[in-house]
Amino acid sequence: MATRELVPAPAPVAVPPSRRPRRGRRDGHPAALYLAPAAVLLLGVLAYPIYQLVVISLYDYGQAEAAGNAPLVFLGLDNYAELLARTQFWVVLAKTIGFAAVCVVGSLFLGTALAVLASRVRAVPRMLLFLAALGAWATPAVAGSYVWLFLFDADFGLVNEVLAGIGFEAMAGHSWTFGTYSAFGLVALEVIWCSFPFVLVTMYAGIKGIPDEVIEAASLDGGSWPRIATSVILPMLRPLLLIATIQSIIWDFKVFTQIYVMTNGGGVAGRNLVLNVYAYQQAFAGQEYGRGAAIGVVMTLILLSVTALYVRSQRRSVEPT
């Protein structure tokens, strides 16, 4: 794409291009000027805080230090050592991974299955499905969390009433948010509900991109639909599936709002904590900013390794020079 550019290239500009460009031809060197606003903001509000996160995690940063009433004590990696020695950290990490895995598998499976289904049906049912999915996708996390909480409310929720109505009398008044697993399950339902539409739309676009002849040939050869879906369509969707998987891992690993709202800040005695909420509670409720920052760094490192995979799978789209 870019190799076709016929415009003479401006002279190389250093990165970040904040230096005032030399006046060259009539246009000067606009690249630096064009990039400057975004670059300044991203450096200040994204890059600098990342650096600060690491710095804070190396200090004993409590309430007194944050208020400027006590000198900062450099701890080195002590915050990390203390964190790794805590059982609670490992429990939270395991729960985070389990929770994210359920959400990722759920939304990928649902999204892909429905995409295959949508490619088979006529326009009207397909439109209905896409409209519904679009609605779920567009619902703000906070609003979605409240609706699902209300549906599963112990006293006034529809789910308990229906369950009691079909013979599970014990379910009347059952609290879904009390038990560790049922609370996680409920949050996972909400997360899958609002994240499968992304997979659906991506995969549907991918299926539409498969030439009709391929599917026709398979069906002329006598392939049944489930067979065509698993042996022809899915393998051709693999690159897209990979991207959607990694994207979902990144999203679901750092779910914050849903957990915080639906389990009221991490559940009874913190048993529904995920890393993100754990870091937040340590820092802002426990006034242990150093430890909170250390959790944040650990989380970032885990996600960066996933990102490395993502970048590798995306490398083709960053056009080579």
Binding site: L6, V7, A9, P10, A14, D27, P30, A31, Y34, L35, P37, A38, A39, V45, L46, I50, Q52, L53, A66, L117, A118, R120, L129, A133, L134, G135, A136, A138, P140, A141, V142, A143, V147, W148, F150, D153, F156, G157, L158, E161, V201, T202, A205, W225, L240, K254, T257, V261, A279, Y280, A283, I295, G296, V297, L304, T307, V311, Q314, V318, T321
Partner: protein
């Protein structure tokens, strides 16, 4: 024969799934319209014969929700306007100009999208506290701080996505403009900008949603000045220890969802093609 029956079954299945997916939204709007007695009932019904706007009234008048709604609108619109301007300029630079380090910048943009922004709450909290000492409008407790962070978080993806739209404008057009004597600046604003407008709309929706949905930063930054709260935080008012006001919670959730839904439906086609473009490059 069996093929046709198979398709019919698939279509029925599709419609059922669509119903299930849409049901929570239906339930939200329905509950917002139900009178209080029907909501706080142990036998909830999936319909109501006496719809009322009581809950909306309670939300908008009693709890001063209008103010929070306005705050959310202000933050989201400021983020959209600024991110459009900044990301358009950056996308033009990254697609139309060739300079050393361009590919490095592109990769950095990708990586920036992966940063777990929630982890940055702690340093950002302290950053905004310091910023507030210099420029009070962007400090803690002020809406400006929210604009700054959401701008920074929506820029990488916005630039990444716009790049595709800018690249789709043929280079020959720029040459023609140049031959006709238009400067690069003039070309950018008078020819490129209108052509990329559809892409800008799609991008702006994402920035809007990002800012509109935010719960974490509003919760962290707006601590004591309650009049500067945004919607997601404000809904918490209706959770009471003795009994949650579900009617009001559903009404405010509806108020929060409708603007996003409208935006989404308006631009869904462009959004999808934009996302596909961003994926395919």
């Amino acid at each position: 024969m069996t093929r046709r029956r198979g398709r019919l079954l698939a279509e029925i299945g599709t419609v059922v799934v669509a119903g299930v997916v849409a049901f929570p939204l239906y339930w939200m709007v329905l509950s917002a319209l139900k009178p209080a007695g029907e909501i706080q009932s142990a036998q909830p019904r999936p319909w109501t014969f006496s719809p009322t706007l009581e809950s909306f009234e309670r939300v908008l008048t009693v709890s001063g929700f209008g103010r929070y709604f306005l705050n959310s609108v202000l933050v989201a619109c400021a983020v959209v306007a600024l991110s459009l301007l900044m990301s358009f300029l950056a996308a033009v630079a990254l697609t139309r100009f060739r300079f050393r380090g361009r590919v490095v910048l592109l990769v950095m943009l990708l990586v920036a999208q992966m940063v777990p922004i929630e982890a940055l709450t702690i340093p950002l909290f302290f950053l905004m506290r310091s910023v507030g000492e210099v420029a009070p409008a962007f400090g803690l407790n002020e809406l400006g701080s929210l604009v700054l962070v959401h701008l920074a978080f929506s820029l990488p993806f916005a630039i990444w996505m716009l790049r595709g739209f800018v690249a789709a404008v043929p280079v020959e057009l720029e040459e023609a403009a140049r031959i006709d004597g238009a400067s690069r600046l003039r070309f950018t604003w008078q020819i490129l900008f209108p052509l990329v407008l559809p892409g800008l709309v799609a991008t702006s929706v994402l920035a809007f949603i990002h800012a509109w949905n935010d719960f974490l930063f509003a919760k962290t930054f707006i601590i004591s000045k309650t009049e500067n709260q945004t919607l997601p935080q404000a809904i918490l008012v209706f959770f009471k220890p003795e009994e949650n006001d579900w009617g009001a919670i559903m009404a405010s959730s509806t108020l929060m969802t409708v603007p996003v839904l409208v935006f989404f439906v308006l631009v869904q086609r462009r959004l999808v093609s934009g996302l596909a473009g961003a994926v395919k490059g």
